[in-house]
């Protein structure tokens, strides 16, 4: 009996490559233990542990970006430059959200210490989604991210809006996961493997049943991921969920969850490169729809969080353009534009949500645009920061948003996707109108009596705002080195080199 069993002991265990994810998960556990031991609902230690763990994980991921790509644990984990950069972005998104969480949650009287472990585990899920080409591993990562976020969205459990947000997110998320799983099942039927690397082989084999199964499977996987990335017409959940969820969680969802979903989409599309003729036309229209609907719907929003939700939808459209350009012309276009835009988008969006979180007071939060009125008097720093984020979100020269859009525009032209480039440019012009409404609310409109009493900016929010602002400016100033770091050595051979497969 003994040797009929296969006893797999991974020979290629590279703990350091797995390090960032392990550290984030373990930090979550430690944070939960600290939460249980803490004294009188004081979350300072929980936040402290989370921040330290995230910093360590981020440093570990960043230090590995330059190393050669390799796949370990029987093809379930992939360490490459893209994965490492996305891991850093995920960690940064979580870190910034954690920084301004405590003050906000206290203001709102929902300072449950469990929020931090959950945010850490969601981050770990997102990191898994970026560092694998095995569909089941990707799915587990996605669920880890999603399930944590379902709970976090309902964190403000006495508030009907928050409950609604959690329930909607859960139902639609489960629906999307079902699509994804069905797609994965068909993928397995077609390829006999769960590894994305098998796509090319099956697609070029000329075996018709396998090809059609694979096409349907891929379509379902793409639909599932479009839900998660909030592409139109799979976006309906986004505004309701972002509006109802606590603002720090909405910030994390808008940045972290989007980064992770786009990273997973990148992995899938990367593998589906041979089928590009099949998926490019539908995704082309999805990108146009996303940019148009996202921006037009944002024009009529009266709630700051809904406005930012539609803004995040339109940015998802820009990201999709970057993805399509990347995989339509893989020899000309590198990952740099996509990753740069993700980084820039994360900073701007978390920053904008952080400014809105300042409006929370005494257990009630109003997130209408009018809640921002008079912000420039109450908190000049937050108002100036908001101006900078809006500046960048619009894409005016001088901040990272401009460079990001320029890079995507250039890539779209290089990949011969001229219509997408034109829609992107027009959509950006339209977006000026609603972004200015944010600035107008904060700077021009007068403060009403009722809103006068508001807490000053706390240290955590101030720090988060400062880092986001520094990030938006820093990304703009250090474009060159950053693009070099994100895309790696720009030689076509190095980029297309086959991944070293071990084990």
């Amino acid at each position: 009996m003994p040797d009929r069993f296969l006893f797999p002991i991974p020979q290629d265990l590279d703990w350091f490559a797995l390090g960032p994810i392990i550290v984030v998960v373990a930090t979550g556990l430690v944070a939960l233990i600290v939460e249980m031991l803490r004294h009188k609902r004081n979350n300072a230690y929980v936040v402290g542990v989370s921040v330290v763990g995230l910093l360590v994980a981020g440093a570990m991921a960043a230090s590995q970006a330059g190393e050669p790509a390799k796949e370990i644990l029987a093809g379930t984990f992939l360490r490459d430059r893209f994965g490492c950069v996305v891991q850093v972005l995920m960690v940064a998104a979580c870190l910034l959200s954690v920084l301004f969480s405590e003050g906000y949650l206290r203001q709102k009287r929902i300072a449950y210490g469990e929020a931090y472990p959950l945010m850490l585990w969601a981050t770990a899920g997102g990191m898994v989604m970026a560092t694998s080409r095995n569909l089941v591993t990707l799915f587990v990562g996605l669920e880890l991210l999603s399930v944590s976020l379902y709970v976090l969205a309902g964190l403000s459990r006495t508030e009907a809006k928050s409950e609604e947000s959690a329930l909607k997110y859960f139902l639609l998320g489960a629906f999307a996961s079902a699509f994804l799983l069905y797609g994965i099942a068909l993928f397995y039927g077609a390829t006999g493997s769960l590894h994305l690397g098998r796509v090319a082989e099956v697609w070029t084999s000329g075996f018709e049943t396998g090809r059609s199964l694979l096409a349907v499977g891929m379509a379902l996987i793409l639909i599932g991921l479009s839900f998660k990335s909030a592409f139109v017409p799979f976006h309906q959940w986004t505004p309701d969920v972002y509006q109802g969820a606590p603002t720090n969680i909405a910030a994390f969802m808008a940045a972290g969850s989007k980064v992770a979903a786009v990273a997973m989409l990148y992995r899938v599309l990367d593998a589906a490169q041979p089928m590009v003729a099949l998926w490019l036309p539908p995704l082309f229209w999805v990108a146009i729809l996303t940019m148009v609907v996202g921006n037009l719907a944002a024009l009529v929003q009266k709630d700051a969080k809904r406005l930012l939700a539609y803004s995040s939808i339109s940015h998802a459209g820009y990201l999709l353009v970057a993805l399509l350009a990347r995989f339509k012309a893989p020899d000309v276009v590198s990952d740099a534009a996509l990753l740069y835009y993700l980084a820039s988008y994360s900073f701007m969006t978390i920053g904008a949500f952080a400014v809105i979180s300042v409006a929370a007071r005494a257990g009630r939060e109003s997130t209408g645009l009018s809640a921002l009125n008079g912000l420039w008097q109450r908190s000049p720093f937050a108002a100036v920061a908001l101006l900078l984020f809006v500046w960048s979100l619009i894409g005016v020269p001088g901040a990272s948003g401009f460079v990001g859009k320029l890079l995507i525009f250039r890539d779209a032209l290089a990949a011969d996707l001229v219509p997408l480039a034109i829609v992107l440019a027009v959509a950006s012009v339209v977006s000026v109108a609603y972004y200015l409404a944010l600035v107008r609310a904060a700077w021009v409109a007068d403060e009403s009596e009722a809103d006068a009493a508001v807490a000053p900016l706390n240290a955590g929010s101030g720090l988060a705002l400062g880092i986001c602002a520094a990030g938006v400016l820093g990304l703009f100033v250090f474009v060159g080195p950053l693009l070099g770091w994100m895309a790696g050595p720009r030689s076509a051979e190095a980029e297309r080199a086959p991944i070293v497969r071990q084990g």
């Binding site: 009996m1 006893f7 556990l29 009188k40 609902r41 004081n42 049943t209």
Partner: protein, 142 residues
Amino acid sequence: MGGYTGLLILAILAAVIAVAMVSLSWLLGPKSPTRYKASPYECGVTPVGDARERFPIKFYLVAMLFILFDIEVVFLWSWMTVFREAETSFKIFSFFEVVIYMTTWIVGYLYAVKVNAMDWDESTLLSQDEDSEGRPALEGVA
């Protein structure tokens, strides 16, 4: 789709038969309803009250905890089954793997105990840290 035609036919046949049986008997069958016949079926007993009743949320909590720890046991069982027969290197490696895995469970268990998820005593359920609106009492909030 050669190999799957049979499946497809089976699925269509099953759907047709199911729909036909229910709808034909509904359309053609003689009907002589009485109040008793029209009432919802409840094991042959006259129904009492509404089915949409509120019941304690503790049932959900226990169900969730059960599912989690149930899966843990399933996983442990499969590991135990192969553990005895395995070679030493696998024993050592998998032992530490399972220790790590169990640690996460133990932390989860401690958490469940800490938040009184398994406490069925009504008198202790209303946590004293919460104010009348069910919000946690916080220090340092005006």
